[in-house]
Symmetry: D2
Subunit: 400 residues, 4 copies
C-alpha cells in the first residue's frame, strides 16, 4: 500500500541514558536523544495484518496533519530530531485518522465491516497509577499510534477495536463523506473536549470565555464553548484565516493578538472590556507561546475563574499568584484525547456542532509530502490527506 514513512538513524547522543527496553526496541523515550537525520518518504509499505482477535483493519479515508507531524522531520544543528516525544522509527506517522472497517478479528463484536470510524491514537496501559486512578490521558506508558506504532498516513491501518469509535450516527444523518470529515478532526477536538470538560470541569452556562490560539484545538474550544452555553466568546490569533474560522464557529469577537499586543496591557484591557469589567470566567491557552500572555490573563480573572493550558511549552511562565488568591482562580494543564470522541460524535450526529468546516485543504496521498509543506505554513486551520482519493478528485482548487 502507499504510505508516508518517517525514518532516521539510530545514533544515541554521547551520554544519553537509555533503558534496555529502548536499546532492544530502537525506541526512544525522548526522540532528541537518539534519532538523527529524520526524513519523510512516500512509498509502498506492506499491508497491516490482524495480530490479535480484538484487532480491526481500517481503510483510511482521512489522515489529518497535526502540528507535531510538521515538526517530526525537523532537526537541530547536529541533525537530531527536535521533538521531545517518545518515538519508534521508522514508522508511518499520522494520529488523526478516519476510515472504514474492512476486516475484524474474531473477538470484535460491536463493530461491523463497513462501519465508518474515528481512531483514538492513545493506547493507555491500563495498569499504571494514572490509569488506575481513572486518568488514562495521564498514562505513564501509553502507546500512541503514529509515534510508537504505525499511524494513519497510509491506505490501511490496524489497531485494537478498543480504540475505535463508530461514526455511524454521523454517517446515517449526514452521509459517509461528512462522517469522514468529522472523524478527521475528532482528535484535536477531543483534546479540546478533554481539556475543557474532563480536566477543567467545564463552566457555567452564561460564562465569558477567552481563547488564545485558533489552531484546530483552539477552534474546537471555540465551537465547544459555544455549544456548551458560553454567553460571550472572544478568540485571539495571529492569522486572519483562523480568526475567520473562530467567528464562523461562534466566537463573538476575534482579535488579532498582534494588534492587542501593540499596547502595554492591550490584552488584559481587551479582556476586561469584553467582559464588561467582570473578568473572564475561563481562559484557554492554546498557543504554546504564552510567555507574554500569562501576565495579561491575571489582570482579567473573574471571581472563581479557571485558566487552562493546552499549548505545549516546557519553559516556565511568569505567573503571579496574588491575583489567583484574590479571585480564588484555578490554573491547570491538560493532555490527551481519551473521553472526547464519544461526546463529540454525539454532538455532531445531532447537529449541535460541525467542526468539519475547519478543513481548509485536502490532498491525495500521492501529494502527501507537499501537503506536509502546506500544513507547515500554519495558515490553514487543518490540512487533511485522503489516501484513497483519486488525485483528480481533489484538485488544486481544494488545496486551499
Amino acid at each position: 500500500m502507499l504510505a508516508i514513512t518517517l525514518s532516521a538513524d539510530w545514533e544515541p547522543r554521547e551520554g544519553a541514558r537509555l533503558t534496555s527496553n529502548e536499546l532492544a526496541g530502537h525506541f526512544a523515550g525522548d526522540a532528541r536523544q537518539v534519532w538523527r537525520n529524520p526524513h519523510f518518504q512516500l512509498g509502498q509499505r506492506p499491508l497491516p495484518r490482524i495480530d490479535a482477535p480484538g484487532d480491526v483493519i481500517v481503510k483510511v479515508h482521512r489522515a489529518g496533519i497535526a502540528r507535531s507531524n510538521c515538526k517530526m522531520g525537523d532537526s537541530d544543528a547536529e541533525g537530531y530530531v527536535l521533538l521531545p516525544y517518545r518515538m519508534r522509527l521508522p514508522l508511518i506517522p499520522g494520529h488523526e485518522i478516519a476510515g472504514e472497517i474492512v476486516e475484524k478479528g474474531t473477538a470484535v463484536r460491536h463493530l461491523q465491516v463497513g462501519d465508518p470510524v474515528a481512531i483514538q491514537a492513545l493506547q493507555p496501559c491500563g495498569s499504571c497509577r494514572a490509569c488506575l486512578q481513572g486518568k488514562p490521558n495521564q498514562c505513564l506508558e501509553t502507546g500512541f499510534s503514529g509515534f510508537t506504532s504505525d499511524g494513519g498516513m497510509a491506505q490501511y491501518f490496524v489497531t485494537s477495536a478498543r480504540f475505535v469509535h463508530s461514526l455511524l450516527p454521523v454517517a446515517e444523518r449526514f452521509g459517509f463523506d461528512r462522517a469522514m470529515d468529522v472523524g478527521a478532526v475528532c482528535e484535536p477536538a477531543a483534546m479540546a473536549y478533554v481539556g475543557l470538560f474532563r480536566q477543567a470541569g467545564g463552566f457555567l452556562p452564561g460564562a465569558t470565555i477567552a481563547i488564545f490560539g485558533c489552531g484546530p484545538i483552539g477552534l474546537s474550544c471555540v465551537s465547544l464553548a459555544r455549544c456548551a452555553g458560553a454567553a460571550k466568546i472572544v478568540a485571539f490569533d495571529r492569522t486572519q484565516n483562523r480568526l475567520r474560522h473562530a467567528l464562523a464557529l461562534g466566537a463573538d469577537m476575534a482579535v488579532n493578538v498582534r494588534d492587542a499586543a501593540d499596547q502595554e496591557n492591550g490584552v488584559s484591557e481587551a479582556l476586561l472590556e469584553f467582559s464588561g469589567g467582570m473578568g473572564i470566567d475561563l481562559v484557554i491557552e492554546a498557543t504554546g507561546d504564552a510567555w507574554n500572555l500569562f501576565p495579561q490573563f491575571e489582570k482579567a480573572l473573574a471571581i472563581g475563574a479557571k485558566v487552562v493550558s493546552l499549548g505545549v511549552e516546557r519553559k516556565p511562565m511568569p505567573i503571579s499568584l496574588f491575583p489567583y488568591q484574590e479571585t480564588g482562580a484555578w490554573l491547570t494543564g491538560t493532555m490527551g484525547h481519551i473521553g472526547g470522541f464519544e461526546p463529540l460524535i454525539a454532538l455532531h450526529a445531532s447537529e449541535r456542532m460541525d467542526l468539519s468546516t475547519i478543513i481548509d485543504a485536502r490532498f491525495d496521498l500521492a501529494n502527501g509530502l507537499q501537503a506536509l509543506q502546506v500544513a507547515s505554513r500554519f495558515d490553514e486551520a487543518k490540512v487533511v490527506l485522503l489516501p484513497h482519493a483519486e488525485p483528480a478528485s481533489i484538485g488544486d482548487a481544494q488545496a486551499i
Copy 2:
C-alpha cells in the same frame, strides 16, 4: 394604583401552634393552619413607597402567573387555604416580575431610573446557617415577594436594589418590550438554571437528557439543556401545546406521557430506546406528580446519572436504591432561583436562547381575575399580566 389582592380570614385552626411572631404579625409559617376563605379582588391600593435608602420602585410591565398563584385561592372543605406556604395576608401576589425603575433610594448606585429590570422574589436573610454556607436558596428565614410581602400583580412594586437584575443588555439588543417578556419568564427559568447547574452541577456536553413536565420550569430546562450542549433531549408532558413548545425550544423528541404510560414499563423503555440503550445521563422531574415515574427512571439510568427533582410534592416516592448503586447515580432536589437571573440575562442578551416565546397569553390588569382562571387550566405554558397596557392593546386574540 390598580392591583390584585388576596385576602382571607385569620382563623387559626383548633390546636394550631403559632409563634408569638406569627400571632403578632398575622403571618403564617404554614398557610393551611390559619387562613380561611381566601379570595382574590381587583381594586385600588396605595402606591408603594421607598422605605430604605437601598430601595427602588418598579413600574411593573409584566407579572407572570405561576402555578402557585392559581392555587393560592383554593381551599378545603372547611374553607382553609390548601397551599402549605408561608403567607402574610392580605397581600398583592405575583413573584414573576419585570418592569422599569421609576424611583430609587439614595444608596442605589448601580441602577438608574428607566432601567429595565427583572425581580428576584426571594430575599434571603444572609445570616442563617444556609446563607452562611453559601446556599441562599435554602435560607431558613427567607422573605418572598408575593407571599410574605406585596408582589407584582399591581402597577407598582417596591423592593431592595439587591434583588433587582438589570435587563439592559437584552433591551439594548432586542428592545424594551422583548426585555420585559424575557424578564417575565426569568423567575421560573432561574429555578431551572439553579436546579440544573448550581444544585445538580450540570452535565457533560453530549449528554442525553429526559425532562418530565413541560410547564415553564420544565420548558426552561429543555431550552437550557439545549443551550448547554445536550446531544439528545426528550420531553414528556400531558398537554400537546406544551409538547409543541418543548420541540420548538430544542427537544429532539416530545412524548405525551399518557401514551407511554399505557404500557407497563412504557416510560423506561422509551428512555432506553431514545438513549440507544445507554441510559439517561440527567433526568429532570418537574411534574410534582412522579409517584409512577420514579420506578421508571431507575430502569434507565446511565452510568453516573443524575436525577433532579424540581416538582413540589411532599408524599414519599417509591425509590429503589439498588439501581443507584449499580450505576453510581445521584438523586437530589432543588429549590429557589437565586443565582439564575444573571446568567439567563447574559444568555438572552447574546441570543443563545429565547424563553420569551413561552408566553402564550397576555392580559391587561383590569382582566387579571379572568387571567388567573385561564392560567388555572394549565394549557398555556405561561400567562402574563401587563399592568400598564391599555386593555385594547392586547385584545382577546392574544389571550390565545
Copy 3:
C-alpha cells in the same frame, strides 16, 4: 490443597431466559434462575496454576467470611439459591483475601515472591462503558473472585497481579501477622472507602456523621469518618458487640436502634439532638434494611447533606423528596471496592487507623464450615479463616 467448595445443581427454572454464554459456561447472571440445592463442602482441590504471564499464586493466610458467603448456601422452598448474584458453580467462595506471593508469572515486575498482599476480588473488564468512563466499580461485565471464579477459602489462590495490592508498608511497620489481619479486612473497608470518598465525595472536616449498621462495612465507615476529620460520629446497630466496636473505632455515641425505634420519630429526634439541631451532614445507610429509616433520615438533614446507601436491598424505599429540595441534599448509592485498597493500606501503614481489631473470631480451615455457621449469627463483626494455621494455634478461645 484443602478448600471449601460451594456446589449446586444446574436446573434452570421454567421460563428462565439464559444467554448462550450462560448455557455454555454453566454460569448464571442471576443465581436464582438456575442453581438448585446449594451446599458447602470441605475437601481437597487441585492447586491453582499460573495461566498467564501476569498471574501470581498467593498462599492464603486470611479469608474473611462476608455476609454474602453466609447467604450463598441458602435456598427457597423449591431449593433455589436466594442470592441474586452472578455465580459460576462449583467454586471456592471467599472474596476477602490476604496472603503472600509464592509464585509469579514472567511479566510480573512490581511484586516479589514473599510479598504480603491483599486481593481485589473485582476484575473489571476495562472496555465497557462504565470502565471507559473511569467507573470500574460499575463495570457491567466484571469478574468477581469467589463468585465467577475461585476465591480465597482455600490454601492457595491465583489471580492477575493487576488485582493484587502490596501490604509491605504495613508488614514493615507492624509485622507480617498484623499485615495479614489488615489485609483480611481490606475488602469491606475498601467498600466503605469507595462509598464515602470516591462515590460520595467525602465531607468537610468538622462534619457530623451518622452511620446505620455496624457490620464490617459500617464499622469501616466509623473508622474512616474519624480518620478523615468528622467532628461528631453517631453509630446505630442492633447488636451490642458491634456497638462496642463502633465506640472503640471512634464513634462519639453508639445507639441501639431498637431503643430509638421504640418511639415515633425516635431516630430523627436522636439525630437532631446529636447534631445540636443542625442536622446530619452525612448519613450512611449500611443495614440493607432501611425501609423504616429513610423517613427518619429526611427529618434530620443538614443543609447540603449527603445520604449514601451501602446496604443492598432491591425493594423500593419510601423517600420524600421535599426535604431534599429544602436542604439541597443529595442521595446516592455505592458499590464495589476498586480504588480503596491503596489508601487504606497507606493509612494503616502510617498508623492513622487500625481496622484489624474488628476480627472477632479466627478459625483454621479444617473448621471452616463451623466458622460459616458462627459468622451467620452476625454477632461478631468479622470472622476470618486462617487456611495455613495449625488447628491448635487458634483454639476455641479465639473463636470469640
Copy 4:
C-alpha cells in the same frame, strides 16, 4: 481602656490617584500611597460603644500578633508604609481576637453575655459579585477589623454579632482559658481551613502532603492535614522551633529547607523520596517566598495533584505548565478565613485537634510593644497579648 494604636501622617504621594471616598475618610485602598511615618503607641483609648442593635462588645482576652501586624509599622526610605493593604488610620490593630461578650445590642439572640467567642475579622459586603457568587472571602469591598476599623489589641472591642463565633463547646469541655487560647489561633487556622478545604477542595484520605512554611498558617495546615486523613505529611521551614511544632502537630517528617536547598533539586528529590516515587498529592505553599520552590514542586507532582498558594507574594513565580499537563495537576491561591471558624471550633470541642499549643509566648498589654518586637523575630510560632492579664500573672518565663 488600654490599647495599642497605629498612627501615621496622611500625605498622599505625588500622583497618587485617590477616590472621593478615600479622600473623605482618610482611608487608603493601598496604604503605600498615602500613609507616612507609621508608628505604634500604647495608651488610653475611649471604650467602644454599641452602634447598631446587632452589635456586641467583647472583653478581649487574647489578641494574637500576626505577621502583618509586625509589618504595619515598617516604612520605606521616604517613610511610607510598606504593606499594600487597605488601611484607615489611626486605628487599633489586631485581627486575631478571642474574648467574652460583655454587652449586646437588642437584636442579638444567639449569643449571651458571658459567652466565650472568637472574632471573624473579615466583614464581607454581601452584595458585590464575589459575595453574590457565594465567595465572601473574595469580597471586593470587605471590611477588616484591625485594618479598616479598630481591632483587638485593646481591652474591649465592638463588632456585629454576625462576625462572632461561640467558643462555648470548647469552654464546656476544656474550660474558659483553653477556649480563649483556641480562639486566639482560630484566625490563622481558619485561613488554612479555607485554603485546604473550601478553595482547594481537600484531598482523599491516604494522601501524601507537603507543607512549605510552618508559621501559624502552615502549622494549621499540618494539623488539619493530619486531622483529615493524610497518610504522610512532610513539613519544611527554616526555623527549628517551628519544625518541632510541625512534628508535634502530626507531621511525619520535618525538613529544614536550608539543608534541602543546599543541593540542586534537593527539595524535589526529598519530595519524591518521601512519597515513594509517587509524587505529592497536595503541596501547600505558605512561605510567601517561593521563587525557588515552584521549580521544585513541579518535579514531584502526583497524578491529579493540587498546589495551593497561601503565602502572599506579588511578584511572578517561574511556573512551567508542562508538568501540570502531564499529571493533570491544579494550582490555585486562597485568601480569607470565612467558613473556617465553625468547623475548627467543632474539631477542637471534640478533641480532634489542638492548635492552642502553637502559642509560644504571652504578654500582657502593658508590654504589648515589646511583644510586637518579639513576634517580629519570627522564631515563635505565635505570640499572643492578654489585655486583661495582670502583668505578674504571665511573667518573663512564659514569654519564651
